[in-house]
């Protein structure tokens, strides 16, 4: 390939200006509401499917958030009686399942759907209809889970949500201990959405492997795309065992099988192994796309190229490999042999290395930059701090004897919220602020965004910081109440206050989304002066994404266009 293959900057600008005008004029003659809704339901356009995923995620975030707030109010004081034991157990089961399967997963799928084809210069994904199927399966899975609130005890009984925990440890899920059908709703709901996720992963891999723009070698794709590629492979590795385990559990519950039935020689540990074989890679499935978003936002808002593209990409691949062999660190207390404990402790420590490399690469990207502290960047920096803490408490948990004390305590609850919320969700929200202009053509309000960030940052630390202390004081997780006199009240009260501050943060987000959607500042094609292909087309992009498929020579094609005197490909 020669340099003459690169489209001239002026040409590219012309082409997307035309696209923008077409869209603007068509907005005047908008089709009737029912037709618009029908278009959304029947769509196979990757951008619309992506936005559907994101809307689904926000909807379930409201449910999961309300559940969390009730949990926090119940734990305000010792022997509180706001809710009963059964209700509380249902709340934390639904909260965990919702947030993992129906908030963060679809948000990731949404970003991937919307961005991957745009970033690699493709007109759509490889399998558009499979893609739509994946979304509808995920949504139906979530709806199935929540149907339990209406029919969990059978059509003639009342509702009862599942109360077995998001990890559904056997044999608590066996018919003897889990009466009624609410556990079946959990199994079927998460299994359906899991199949949708597998479809999503297959599609993403095929898209990235086969549909990159001319010149975009796999070593030149944006880091977000890299992360999605690794994530998708991890999904293919992790989800089928979960689905298989869920089918086995259904057979136990309804066909008299004994896989996990300890009374009949089944194994309770088998479920734990199968579940965590999914469950731990799942943590990285939720974290890697966040790393991808950070690797896009931090350079653009530092006005610098990412420090060490190759090591960010390769350390993520390492996380993919090592992350698939650490699952039993969730099981240090089940009485494994010394050698197994040693192995899983060592792999868990080892994963700190590639994770640390990335944190340092991002930090180094800041060095010498011109940091534009807009909302997306604030969330990205918040991510760096929170994820650092979550990673360090993770090192503590990988130390087996320490884990014997703090696993299943509130310390652990604090730890994984620092990783999944302070990590993944902070990054994803940064992503919302970063790509909202691309998706809608309007900017999110930066002042509200900053308010959103600071409320969330302060609320988050007040909420999850004190949990480390109540855990060290011996407070176990998943308890609907506790006895007074153990010094736990004050820490729980700080947490609850933090929870409500965070509730305010999310109200701010929703207000900002609603307000900016109607009257936000027009964004233009490239409001952040960014460098990846999605900013080359109009905002929102036309159905066909690019009028002309761009040809790429470097990792930052728009940098090359904007700086013809010093293009990236000279340095790569």
């Amino acid at each position: 390939m020669t340099s003459s293959d690169i489209p001239e900057g002026s040409q590219a600008l012309d082409s997307h200006t035309v696209v923008g005008q077409t869209l603007a004029s068509s907005a005047a003659t908008r089709p009737p509401l029912v037709t618009q809704l029908h278009d959304w339901v029947t769509t196979v356009d990757h951008k619309r499917v992506g936005l559907l995923y994101l809307m689904m995620s926000l909807m379930f975030m409201v449910f999961g958030g309300i559940e969390a707030l009730i949990i926090r109010v119940q734990l305000w004081t010792a022997n509180n009686t706001l809710v009963e034991a059964e209700t509380f157990n249902q709340l934390f089961t639904m909260h965990g399942t919702t947030m993992i399967f129906f908030v963060v997963m679809p948000m990731i799928a949404g970003f991937a759907n919307f961005l991957v084809p745009l970033m690699i210069g493709a007109r759509d994904v490889a399998f558009p209809r499979l893609n739509a199927l994946g979304f509808w399966l995920s949504l139906m899975g979530g709806c199935t889970l929540y149907l339990s609130y209406f029919t969990g005890k059978g059509l003639l009984g009342g509702g009862s949500a599942p109360d077995v925990g998001w990890f559904a440890y056997a044999p608590l899920t066996s018919p003897a201990y889990s009466v009624g059908s609410s556990t079946d709703y959990w199994i079927v709901g998460t299994a359906i959405s899991g199949i949708g996720t597998i479809a999503f992963a297959v599609n993403t891999i095929a898209t990235i492997v086969t549909m990159r723009a001319p010149g975009m070698l796999i070593s030149k794709v944006p880091l977000f795309v890299w992360m999605m590629l690794i994530t998708s492979f991890m999904i293919l590795l992790a989800f089928p065992p979960l689905t298989a385990a869920q089918v086995m559990l259904l057979m136990d519950r309804h066909m008299g099988a004994h896989f996990f039935d300890t009374q009949a020689g089944g194994s309770a540990l088998l479920w734990q192994h199968l579940f965590w074989f999914f469950g731990h890679p799942e943590v990285y499935i939720l974290a890697l796309p966040a790393f991808g978003i950070i690797s896009e936002i931090v350079p653009v808002f530092s006005r610098k190229v990412i420090f060490g593209y190759a090591s960010v990409a390769m350390s993520s691949a390492a996380i993919g490999v090592i992350g698939s062999s650490v699952w039993a660190h969730h099981m240090f207390t089940v009485g494994m042999s010394d050698s197994l404990d040693a192995f899983f402790s060592a792999t868990s420590f080892l994963i700190a290395v590639p994770t640390g490399i990335k944190v340092l690469n991002w930090t180094a990207t800041l060095y010498g930059g011109q940091l534009r502290l807009r909302t997306p960047m604030l969330f990205a920096l918040g991510f760096l701090g929170m994820f650092l803490m979550g990673g360090l408490t993770g090192i503590m948990l990988a130390a087996v004897p320490v884990d014997w004390q703090i696993s299943d305590s509130y310390f652990l609850v604090g730890h994984f919220h620092y990783v999944l919320f302070g990590g993944s969700l902070f990054a994803l929200m940064g992503g919302v602020y970063y790509w909202f202009p691309k998706a809608t053509g309007r900017m999110l309000d930066d002042r509200l965004g900053k308010l959103n960030f600071w409320l969330q940052f302060i609320g988050f630390n007040l909420l999850f910081g004190p949990m480390h202390i109540s855990g060290i004081l011996g407070m176990p997780r998943r308890v609907y109440t506790y006895q007074p006199g153990q010094g736990w009240e004050i820490w729980n009260q700080i947490s609850t206050v933090g929870g409500f501050i965070m509730g305010l943060a999310f109200l701010t987000l929703f207000w900002n989304l609603a307000k900016s959607l109607r009257s936000g500042k027009p964004a233009g094609d490239d409001p952040w002066d960014a460098w990846t292909l999605e900013w080359m087309t109009s905002s929102p992009p036309a159905a066909y994404n690019f009028e002309e498929i761009p040809t790429v020579r470097s990792r930052r094609p728009l940098w090359d266009l904007k700086h013809p005197e010093d293009p990236d490909w000279k340095h790569e």
């Binding site: 006005r303 060490g308 004390q405 006895q483 006199g485 153990q486």
Partner: protein
């Protein structure tokens, strides 16, 4: 006019007031968080009942505390280094108003990246060796001839405690002899479950080990001073997981021997409460509860042979007195909603007779 400060060749700009305040709040939150988790503040031991793992009472929990401090120390250093760099970079490289020039592009540095790959690798290798050594040490049998064995069986939602060396069973209150400086008296726990997964956790004595149906786990505890140590089930086990408490009563050897003698004996047969005993045997009570020396031999609920030697009922939930026993028997759901003991709908006189009988089981 933005104030500037020159430090060893670096020009530090002070950000605007608003940003300074916000950064200060952020740093304060981070500092408070880390210092609170790191420091052994007095709150950690507030209330005598706090099952505080940083206030260990035996060698097992002490070893864990030692390695916990090592790990916390290493993590604090990393947090300090990376966190400071992060905050420093954010403060230093903030956008200069009006300056739209692109900063110099730095694509990476093989030497630096190699350094920050190898340094963490060395650190975690060191940690892993330390950790694995501690695991082996804690799993190994402590050299002592004075060991006792107790079989701990988790039930929904109480603990069955069986002393196989002495041939009796009790519940929820694990009585152990105190270790003397020159004679360790470790207690070997054989952990099992009768139904779902539970986890035995008394933070001041040791870490937790799960009780898994179909499996036998083991651990050991040892306490250096006579006291009551509080713990609980740490693995979610259903409705009343929160109220599955355990107490470890550490007593002097003499008291322990006396206690064992009493436990070994059959139940007191006091004819003044014969009516209550008859009621107990006629009703369904004996299907689930055992009272040695009588026909009652149920195994589903706690052994009641020496019920009154225990301080609490309902796995540590309520004091073991007439009032609570009456409440518990007449309406179990009042104390522990969803518990496995059914409401037998006994008449008030029947309840009183049965409680009279139970109160005689010293």
């Amino acid at each position: 006019m933005i104030p500037r400060i020159h430090v060893i060749g670096l020009t530090l700009r002070f950000p605007s007031l608003g940003v300074t305040v916000r950064c200060a709040v952020a740093i304060a939150v981070i500092m408070v968080w880390s210092s609170l988790s790191l420091a052994q503040s007095p709150e950690f031991s507030q209330g005598n009942d706090a099952p505080d793992m940083f206030n260990p009472a035996g060698p097992n929990a002490e070893s864990i505390q030692e390695i916990f401090w090592v790990v916390i120390g290493i993590c604090a250093v990393i947090l300090g280094l990376v966190g400071t760099t992060l905050i420093w970079f954010i403060a230093k490289y903030r956008e200069r108003p009006g300056d739209n020039s692109e900063p110099p592009q730095i694509y990476g540095s093989r030497a630096i990246e190699l350094a920050w790959t190898l340094a963490p690798l060395l650190t975690v290798t060191l940690l892993a060796v330390l950790v694995i050594a501690t695991v082996i040490k804690l799993r190994a049998d402590p050299p002592s001839t004075a060991a006792h064995r107790v079989r701990v069986v988790g039930h929904q939602w109480w603990w069955e405690l069986n002393y196989p060396d002495h041939g009796f069973t009790t519940a929820n209150e694990l009585v152990i002899p105190v270790s003397e400086p020159d004679l360790a008296k470790p207690i070997y726990l054989q952990l099992e479950s009768a139904d779902v997964c539970h986890s035995f956790w008394v933070p001041r004595l040791a870490g937790k080990t799960d009780c898994i149906p179909g499996r036998t786990n083991s651990m050991w505890i040892q306490a250096g001073e006579p006291a009551t140590y509080f713990g609980r089930c740490a693995e979610y086990c259903g409705t009343q997981h929160a109220k599955m408490l355990i107490r470890v009563d550490c007593v002097s050897q003499a008291d322990f021997d006396k206690w064992v003698e009493n436990q070994k004996a059959d139940a007191v047969s006091d004819d003044s409460v014969a009516a209550g005993r008859d009621r107990f045997m006629e009703m369904a009570c004996m299907n689930c509860h055992a009272i040695r020396g009588t026909r009652a031999a149920g195994e589903f609920g706690p052994d009641l042979t020496h019920l009154m030697s225990r301080k609490t009922i309902c796995s540590g939930l309520a004091l073991n007195d007439r009032e609570n026993l009456t409440r518990w028997i007449s309406k179990p759901d009042d104390l522990k909603k969803g518990c496995r003991m059914p409401d037998m709908r006994l008449t008030e006189p029947d309840v009183k007779l049965i409680v009279d009988y139970l109160l005689s089981l010293k």
